[in-house]
Amino acid sequence: MTAAGREPAPALEAVGLTVSYGRRPVLRDLDLAVCAGEAMAVLGPSGCGKTTLLYTVAGFTAPDSGLIRIDGRVVVDGPRSHPPEDRDVAVVFQNYALWPHLSALDTVAYPIRRAGQPRAEARQRAMVLLERMGVAALADRRPAELSGGEQQRVGVARALARGAALYLFDEPTAHLDAPLRTVLQEELAAQRTALGAAVLYATHDVAEAFTVADRVALLRGGAVAQIGSPQQVYEHPVDLWAARLTGPACALDLPVAPAGPGSIEVWVGEVAATVAVAGGREPPAGRAALLLRPEWGGLGGPLPGRVLAVRYRGPDTIYRLDTPAGQVEVRGGGAPRAAIGERCGWAMQRVGLLPGPASAAAPHPVSRG
């Protein structure tokens, strides 16, 4: 919604991108646009093509076909392309890819040198970047003498030194502890705003994707399955796969009937309940495939169930229930209020609609930004 509002030249525009390794297709006819100043997360399980997408944009991998524009400039058009050094991109690599023979200072000065600056000037500007990343004291150290977190800061500083229109992050915060991750993400957010550059951030961690990104693209089998703001992809997943990728979710197949605008009547066994439908759409009468996230339901209510498992998480508790509709998970605030084996009532406040055999007649609720 916000992305569609402003219309400057996109920082990245990929059209019909197809990449294969040997005979194995990795990206299939992929379309993707990242607006200037926007941070987009590419979320998907390992092997879905995240790194290949980034490497194709950076120019490390040649696509079979497709077109890529960076900051309005064509860099790939079918078999013809610009090499990486002629593209306006910077990369933070998964394993940092720091050069073993260069100090942190010379590493960060490297892109500035390549841009034609004299050595002294490049080092001076590199020092400023290292200071911003809080690792100025380590300027003379080589990668082998740096911890993982320090290596990553140097890697990010090197990318920032490039001053690119588009920053690519290849799952860079993997294997780092949570506090360091937070510091780093704040740092990145500040840098990005200052430079007004766009970010394409590959990750398999949904919490990370939601934290860093304005929009999230779900990648499945080398194609974009869904794209939208974190709220859109969480609240209105296009299917069960997208729902499970973005958070805990149960699928229910239940008889339903329309019950006024934005709500439906659902039968769980003998008991009927009126629940809101996420997005305000209504299924036709009959059976429907429904999506239930734990916090969309709750403990205590008219629906029958029996507790199978209790998972205490601190602020709340997740209960797995055996019900006439199958197994569901619902959330209750605070400490556990029911024991395993106990009979208890539960409620659904809202549900989502999933495409499926039971609701084949319903239009697919594809959400777009």
Binding site: H82, P83, A97
Partner: protein, 550 residues
């Protein structure tokens, strides 16, 4: 097209791989292909049956039999010794394992020619032991001596391959896992260690056998005086002493025979060694269990072995070289540098400069062609060419020398250039392997990071690949220099007036019975090798420091 500014500069990415493949193929054909084809054409002039007859009957037949059984004996003894040494350094808690490892590797770099002469000075008639306690070994000159001295040289070779395979494929955690599942130490060794180490042991066996098969120095020093011919010494005598065409035909047949036997030995190993690389478990190094006191005994045995096979022969050489006259007691009162002065006459200087020149030329040439073949990578045709380069190392020096003589003798006979051509063919693998390994260990992301930082392909090579591979390049140069500077097999067959190498001079003097001068020259050659080895050590240390953090 939609973008008038950028569209004209878009281009198809250029790939240098096809050009590299063509260049490496052409070099392989020139250095190895044409010579071997010429050799086979000459040897098979009268049909394969004639070659078979030559290799089965008469003096040449005897040489084949002698070579095969001594090589097999060397292989068995060398493997047993190498496996024991690998157990001590990789699996036991014996003290001084690092030193032992270093001593075994140092033994690997020594010149076999010097080693063989050293044995005669230490244990032969009139040798150091004879002088000290009145004991000498009559069998030293002859098959027993060839087997024992050959095996002593083969132990470090077997050790290196088996220890490397233990370190890379059989990590101690795998044995610990077997012990944790209830296996005894013996059962763990039988069910885990041995199956995983088998490809390494098979590779070691092939390497040691082929090395023994192609060995010339030890049989030349210990076999020729005893009238015990092997294939390589037979080729040497046919080519340098005989004049009739029949002798040349016999030499060509023997040269072909060496290749055939090597192929028969290597073929089954390829199948065994094909098993894929095991994933690293990343566990702590060290023994799965305390190996107890037995490893102390084994370590002591290994040190004794090194003392007998390396230290004592070298000590005997030095003492003879320093003693005023043969027959005098090697005490300080009788010490002199006169033998060194006598050794360093004009001919020796010429030979020394030839050796250093050839070694430096071979090292530089191999560095260039090795970097080229290593840059082709391990995919597709590049892999095939890499294997071909590596396999060239299994071709006997004697075979290469005869083949190169046949192919290029017309224009290059009696020049240093013809020796250099054979050296390039022989030592290419020695440069290719470490460089290919270093290139493979270089993460592709390091170069990508350079490109995406704004460096063009050439700049990325200059500022990233070059500095990172420099220690490996230096180490490869020194390694080739080390082996080329004491090379005897090829140079003894290809030298002409004024192109003798130091090793050839040493062999000549030894055969003339010039005991003191030969010893002095051997010591000089060893000092030259030690200097290069020292530099090699420094280069390896530097390479270690440059290694990529994980």
């Amino acid at each position: 097209m939609t973008d008038p500014v950028a569209a004209p500069s878009l281009r198809r990415p250029t790939s240098w791989t096809p050009a590299g493949l063509v260049l490496v193929s052409a070099l392989l054909v020139l250095l190895v292909g044409i010579p071997l084809v010429r050799l086979f054409a000459v040897a098979l002039e009268d049909g394969p049956a004639a070659v078979g007859r030559t290799l089965r009957t008469g003096a040449t037949g005897q040489a084949v039999v002698n070579t095969v059984w001594t090589s097999l004996a060397v292989t068995v003894l060398g493997l047993l010794g190498g496996a024991a040494a690998a157990f001590v350094t990789e699996r036991s808690r014996a003290p001084g394992r690092g030193w032992l490892r270093g001593a075994l590797l140092a033994a690997l770099l020594g010149a076999p020619l010097v080693s063989a002469i050293g044995w005669t000075r230490a244990y032969g008639p009139g040798g150091l032991l004879d002088r000290l306690v009145g004991l000498h070994w009559d069998g030293l000159y002859g098959p027993a001596g060839i087997v024992v001295v050959g095996a002593a040289g083969a132990v470090p070779v077997g050790y290196l391959v088996i220890a490397a395979s233990l370190a890379s494929r059989v990590e101690p955690d795998l044995e610990r896992a077997a012990r944790a599942c209830g296996a005894t130490a013996g059962l763990a060794a039988r069910s885990v260690t041995l199956p995983l180490a088998r490809p390494g042991i098979a590779a070691a066996a092939a390497l040691v056998f082929v090395t023994g098969l192609n060995a010339f120095e030890v049989p030349a020093v210990l076999g020729i005086p005893a009238g015990f011919p092997t294939m390589t010494t037979r080729i040497y005598q046919d080519l340098t002493l005989a004049v009739d065409p029949a002798a040349f035909a016999a030499a060509a047949a023997l040269a072909v025979g060496l290749v055939v036997i090597a192929v028969i030995a290597i073929a089954p190993v390829d199948a065994l060694a094909g098993a894929g690389r095991a994933p690293r478990t990343g566990g702590a190094a060290g023994a799965a269990t305390a190996a107890g006191r037995r490893s102390w005994g084994l370590a002591a045995a290994l040190w004794t072995f090194l003392a007998i096979t390396v230290a004592l022969p070298m000590l005997a050489l030095v003492l003879v070289a320093l003693t005023r006259a043969v027959g005098l007691a090697p005490v300080p009162a009788n010490w002199t540098l006169a033998n060194f002065a006598a050794a360093l006459d004009g001919h020796t200087y010429e030979a020394l400069s030839n050796s250093v020149l050839l070694a430096a030329g071979a090292a530089t040439g191999v560095l260039l062609i090795g970097a080229l073949s290593a840059a082709l990578g391990r995919a597709g045709v590049g892999r095939v060419l890499g294997t071909a380069v590596t396999m060239t190392f299994a071709v006997a020096g004697s075979t290469l020398a005869v083949a190169v003589l046949l192919a290029y003798g017309g224009s290059l006979r009696d020049t240093l250039a013809i020796i250099l051509v054979a050296y390039l063919a022989k030592f290419w693998a020695l440069g290719h392997r470490p460089l290919a390994g270093a290139a493979e260990r270089l993460p592709a992301d390091l170069v990508r990071a350079g490109r995406v930082s704004g460096a063009g392909a050439a700049t990325a090579v200059r500022t990233i690949v070059g500095p990172l591979l420099r220690p490996a390049l230096g180490a490869a140069w020194l390694l080739v220099f080390l082996f080329a500077v004491h090379e005897l097999t090829i140079s003894s067959l290809l030298y002409g007036p004024g192109t003798k190498t130091l090793a050839v001079v040493i062999l000549d003097r030894q055969q003339l019975g010039d005991v003191a001068v030969t010893s002095a020259l051997s010591v000089l050659l060893t000092l030259l090798i030690a200097a290069a080895a020292g530099l090699l050590l420094v280069a390896r240390r530097a390479a270690g420091r440059r290694s990529v953090p994980t």
